[in-house]
């Protein structure tokens, strides 16, 4: 009786996707981009709740203040602010002492001071409710302790006195959402159209691709402008419009892939075994078009974000008080000399995101391209 020798375990096979993941993880630029993108997304989604400012809150006393790590109001700006408020109360301020949390001062006037006017302190963005420490000379001389409202504007404020950090993050939500949603629209239309044309082939394919050619030579920006003007400046319709433009490349890529895949031996084998057309498409054709499609999607998202900012720059994009990176950048670009931070921060966010997406796309292309193996 011969001994049964167990077969040695076959070496673990790696699928295309496992292989691609390994190759992607070995690409340092791509991994760094993934991390940056994840951080950026988290910051934009959750950040606006932690900055301490609503994105549309206007601080009248802090219009166009520069970016600063220390809190506003600045010590050197306080005496002037107090003087301004005092003059509105029709009194003069003196003996101003500033400490960490509050300002002590004495208001004097010719006539008794109307204490209701002290609400001007409240109304300013810099001070809290004043406490009256002493009232002398029948109310002509008031000693006050006014708490200081400390506020941080890490990125400064815009021309309306709104916190730029919060606005940049909220704008990121809009830009990223438009990028993803428009790409999704382009993906659905493009894959469906391209796969249909490629798989049906023949005359139908020719007509369908001719239509794409015609749309291609249409000046696309005019097309987007028409759609935006036509649909109104609406956030949701805008990404539909952008997505409706950007599917053309996707359709071409998917069609080309489908054409070559449909002639592969494994498709012929599946046909010979009697697998249904739908089954072949699902099991063989679509998974194999996915590689280039994913690469194209990563490169399309930055393109769409850029297109959205371009439209916003022309004044056709997201409307106030909502905002997007494009809107912020175009505001900043108009006031670049006086308030450079208004351009610098949104532009830095946009460019960082686009950079990361591009590097990720390149990394994915290298990882999924079997020719490099």
């Amino acid at each position: 009786m011969s001994e049964v020798v167990p077969l040695p375990a076959p070496p673990a096979a790696r699928s295309l996707w496992q292989d691609a993941r390994l190759r992607l993880l070995r690409n340092r630029a791509a991994v760094a981009s993934l991390v940056v993108l994840a951080l950026m997304t988290l910051a934009c989604i959750f950040g606006p709740w932690f900055t301490g400012h609503p994105y549309d809150r206007v601080y009248q006393d802090y219009v166009r203040v520069p970016a600063s790590l220390s809190a506003y109001p600045k010590a050197e700006a306080l005496p002037a602010a107090i003087q301004r408020i005092a003059s509105r109360i029709r009194a003069t301020s003196s003996e101003v002492v500033v400490d960490a949390a509050e300002v002590r001062l004495v208001l004097t006037a010719q006539r008794p001071i109307d204490q209701r006017l002290l609400v001007y302190f409240d109304r300013s963005d810099q001070f809290g409710t004043p406490r009256i420490m002493a009232s002398e000379q029948e109310g002509r001389r008031l000693a006050l302790a006014v708490p200081i409202k400390r506020q941080h504007f890490l990125f400064g404020t815009d021309a309306n006195g709104r916190d730029l950090l919060t606005r940049t993050l909220v704008a990121g939500r809009v830009s990223l959402a438009i990028g993803l949603l428009a790409t999704g629209v382009a993906l659905v239309i493009g894959v469906a159209y391209g796969a249909t044309a490629g798989y049906l082939g023949g005359r139908i394919d020719m007509v369908m691709m001719r239509i794409v050619d015609v749309l291609y030579s249409l000046p696309f920006i005019f097309f987007v402008i028409l759609l935006v003007v036509f649909f109104g400046r609406n956030f949701i319709l805008m990404f539909l419009a952008v997505g409706a433009i950007e599917w053309l490349d996707m359709a071409r890529i998917v069609r080309g892939q489908t054409l070559s895949i449909k002639r592969q031996e494994y498709v012929l084998a599946a046909e010979a075994l009697g697998v249904s057309t739908g089954g072949i498409l699902k099991r063989h054709v679509i998974p194999n078009t996915l590689g280039p499609v994913i690469v194209y999607v990563t490169l399309l998202v930055p393109k769409v974000i850029l297109l959205e900012s371009f439209l916003s720059f022309l004044g056709l994009g997201v409307q106030e008080p909502m905002t997007s990176w494009g809107v912020l950048i175009s505001d900043g670009a108009r006031a670049i000399q006086a308030t450079p931070w208004m351009l610098a921060f949104p532009a830095a966010f946009l460019v960082t995101t686009l950079f990361a997406l591009n590097f990720l796309g390149d990394g994915l292309r290298d990882a999924l391209d079997p020719r490099d193996r």
């Binding site: 030579s217 000046p219 670009a333 460019v351």
Partner: protein
Amino acid sequence: MLTYILRRFATAIPTLFVIVTLSFFLMRLAPGGPFDLEQPLEAKVMENLRRIYQLDQPLHAQYLTYLGALLRGDFGPSFYFRDFSIAELFAQGLPVSMRLGASALLLALVIGGPLGTLAAFRQNGGADHAVMGLATAGITIPNFVVAPVLQIVFGLSLAWLPVGGWNGGAFRNTILPIVTLALPQIAVIARMTRAAMIETLRANHIRTLRAQGLSGATIALHAGRGAALPVISYLGPAAASLLTGSVVVETIFGIPGIGRYFVEGALNRDYTLVMGTVVVVAIFVLVFNLVVDILYALLDPRVRLD
């Protein structure tokens, strides 16, 4: 070869026709009209205006009128710039935009091509990474960020060049706009050249050249012919994207080209102006594609024998 060109030319005409038809009806679908002011005009005035511009006729009649005029080369009067015909507006703006676009494209080819070739020869080396990093920057930084930065640096801080204006097309005034327009194209062309070059450098005929011990410059020259194909086919889309870019550049630098007419026309429902711009741009893109096809056929015998 001639039949090839003629066949290409024959397909361009129906394309142009479809574009004109599509944009004509899309434009008319949009709500609002060219004479909708904040204060509505008197009914009688409105009626007269509409009759003068033949807007009171049914849409298909207007379409046929426009098509007929277009065949005679007549773009009609502008609805918004009341004293100008579209032809006059284009006569002023088109040469300006064309000069900007052509210079930018030339600059992009002259700089982008060699950069891409250099990167391909030093694949995965320091020069390659530097070129690719710069190219990514060129693609990702929008031109409406680049333009003001250039204005600040070269126009105000260094005061070497004028901040804006056209000044009758003086060379100094064109430098900043052309550079702004060319930067993204340089980036794209460098990337494409690099990719195509890497592919070509693996080909057998290049290996033969290497085996014969020829110099790098000679090899680059031979590989250039193969690598030029994808770059040439990009020229069509490049022309279109230069026109798009010119919208921003012409706005920021205050240049009287046709790019601005895109937006102004669509916003003011200036039907003839929008149609005129579409037709002119479409003709441009089609002619460019035609030239690209011909160049392609000249460089690659497989295309014309197919």
